[in-house]
């Protein structure tokens, strides 16, 4: 009955249009659509489409970021309505994220955070040049499910191993899952240092986090 509106919501995510997303969400609520339905029937299919197109090389990082920003704008409108109705979108898990000590590359890690948030994870971005120990301290403090560690150089990716060791020292393993990523990082490197997985790009990181948490 609201198929056209769901399709429009899907499309505004594909177009990466936050203004349109806000307007459509307001229209959906006014039409009596439950906020959770607007997310699950409209926004999420749009995000999934962007992910599929990205994987096929038809969409690119700017598309991903813009879709994530549109998703953020939309959920900011829908969440108060959900709370009012006593409903809540399932949080897929808590993620602590950062670029490892010695490395100040920001973009890749930020994109991973954007896509995790858009996909329903609660993300705590620690920033760049994050001390190894801080990943563990924050994971414990926030009761995180996943720690994401980014490194953009062969010289700094060795720090990902230090983060794994810090989480072990804090007794957080194997409950807290560790995902590594960054240009020089490979699956075999992740295995070698005892991480739970390697995300080739932002969307792979989302898929991996979901798999690791059984979502």
């Amino acid at each position: 009955m609201h198929d056209d509106l769901y399709l429009a919501l899907r499309q505004c995510i594909i177009d990466g249009d936050p203004e349109q997303a806000i307007e459509l969400c307001q229209r959906a609520l006014a039409a009596g659509i439950a906020a959770l339905d607007a997310i699950n029937e409209g926004l999420v299919p749009g995000l999934n489409h962007v992910g599929e197109q990205f994987a096929q090389g038809e969409m690119f990082l700017p598309d991903l970021v813009m879709a994530g920003e549109a998703m953020k704008a939309a959920t900011a409108i829908l969440e108060p309505a959900m709370q009012k109705a006593g409903a809540r979108r399932e949080t897929l898990g808590k993620v602590v994220l950062g670029t490892v000590q010695g490395d100040i590359h920001e973009i890749g890690k930020t994109l991973v955070g954007t896509m995790l948030s858009a996909s329903g994870f609660e993300v705590h971005d620690l920033g760049v040049d994050v001390p190894f120990e801080t990943f563990a301290v924050k994971a414990r403090e926030l009761n995180a499910d996943v720690v994401g560690v980014s490194a953009l150089l062969t010289t700094t990716m060795t720090g990902q191993k230090n983060v794994v060791e810090a989480l072990e020292r804090h007794g957080l393993r194997p409950r807290v899952k560790i995902v590594v990523g960054g240009a020089p990082v490979t699956r075999s490197w992740g295995e070698e240092i005892g991480a739970d997985g390697y995300g080739e790009d932002a969307l792979a990181a989302v898929a991996l986090a979901k798999t690791l948490l059984g979502k």
């Binding site: 177009d15 690119f60 700017p62």
Partner: protein, 247 residues
């Protein structure tokens, strides 16, 4: 821009670059196929245009370089005048026949990076586009610097090699960065090297070009890139290189 030749020995600084960056370069700098983006996502193109307007004035392009005579090649080490050396299979293979090695660092400075970090907090799409501009700008600067080295080589009836950078296959980042920065002797255009061999400002490139009558030419940068097997952008770079060759 017409420039003088290259003095040998001491560190030289080249400034006053007029970089020509267009929207397609900003899109490519974000890892996107500019043609596909133009056909499908007008908003992303508009964001790239905005990044270009806001970011160009924040570029401070500088290139520091030093031209050093190649004395000998021994055991995967290129021995240079003054006692310095470059080591590893990649540099020895390409600089083996060179009379000169030009070591250089190119940077667009720190102002754009500061803007990128600020912008990412509020507007990630624009932050990414500004980062794409920075990537495009430092690549264009390095290409312009290499163009300058090529011109000088031609005037001296020499040939120049493909530019080589630490991190390429056969040249470890740790060794290469320390060697280049050591040879530039603290005069690296304001670029600093961290203990992890990370350059700051981040949008900087270090490289070496060999000059000589017998140097091996041929090959594109992607042929030697350590990320060649996994790079999402390789096809685009190779297509651009092909287009440049056909001009």
């Amino acid at each position: 821009m017409q420039r003088e030749g290259m003095a040998a020995g001491s560190v030289q600084l080249l400034q006053d670059w007029r970089l020509q960056i267009d929207v397609d370069m900003v899109l490519r700098g974000q890892g996107a196929d500019a043609g596909k983006m133009r056909a499908r996502n007008a908003r992303a193109v508009a964001v790239a245009e905005k990044a270009l307007r806001e970011g160009m004035g924040l570029l401070d392009p500088r290139v520091a370089y030093r031209r050093l005579a190649v004395h000998a090649v021994r055991h995967e080490r290129v021995l240079l005048e003054g006692g310095g050396a470059l080591s590893g299979p990649l540099v020895t293979r390409h600089l083996g026949g060179a009379q000169w090695a030009v070591v250089a660092v190119a940077t667009i400075g720190a102002r754009l990076e500061a803007r990128i970090s600020e912008t990412l907090k509020e507007d990630r799409a624009l932050g990414l586009a500004l980062d794409g501009l920075g990537t495009a700008a430092v690549e264009a600067l390095a290409a312009a610097a290499c163009g300058h080295f090529d011109e000088v080589a031609l005037r001296e009836e020499l040939r120049s090699t493909t530019p080589l950078s630490p991190g390429m296959s056969g040249w470890k980042i740790e060794a290469g960065q320390k060697e280049i920065f050591g040879l530039l002797d603290g005069g690296a255009a304001g670029v600093r090297l961290s203990a992890c061999c990370l350059m700051t400002p981040r949008k900087s490139l270090s490289l070496v070009v060999g000059l000589g009558k017998e140097v091996r030419m041929g090959g594109e940068v992607c042929d030697f890139c350590g990320l060649r097997e996994t790079c999402r952008h390789r096809k685009q770079y190779e297509a651009l290189a092909q287009a440049a060759r056909e001009k």
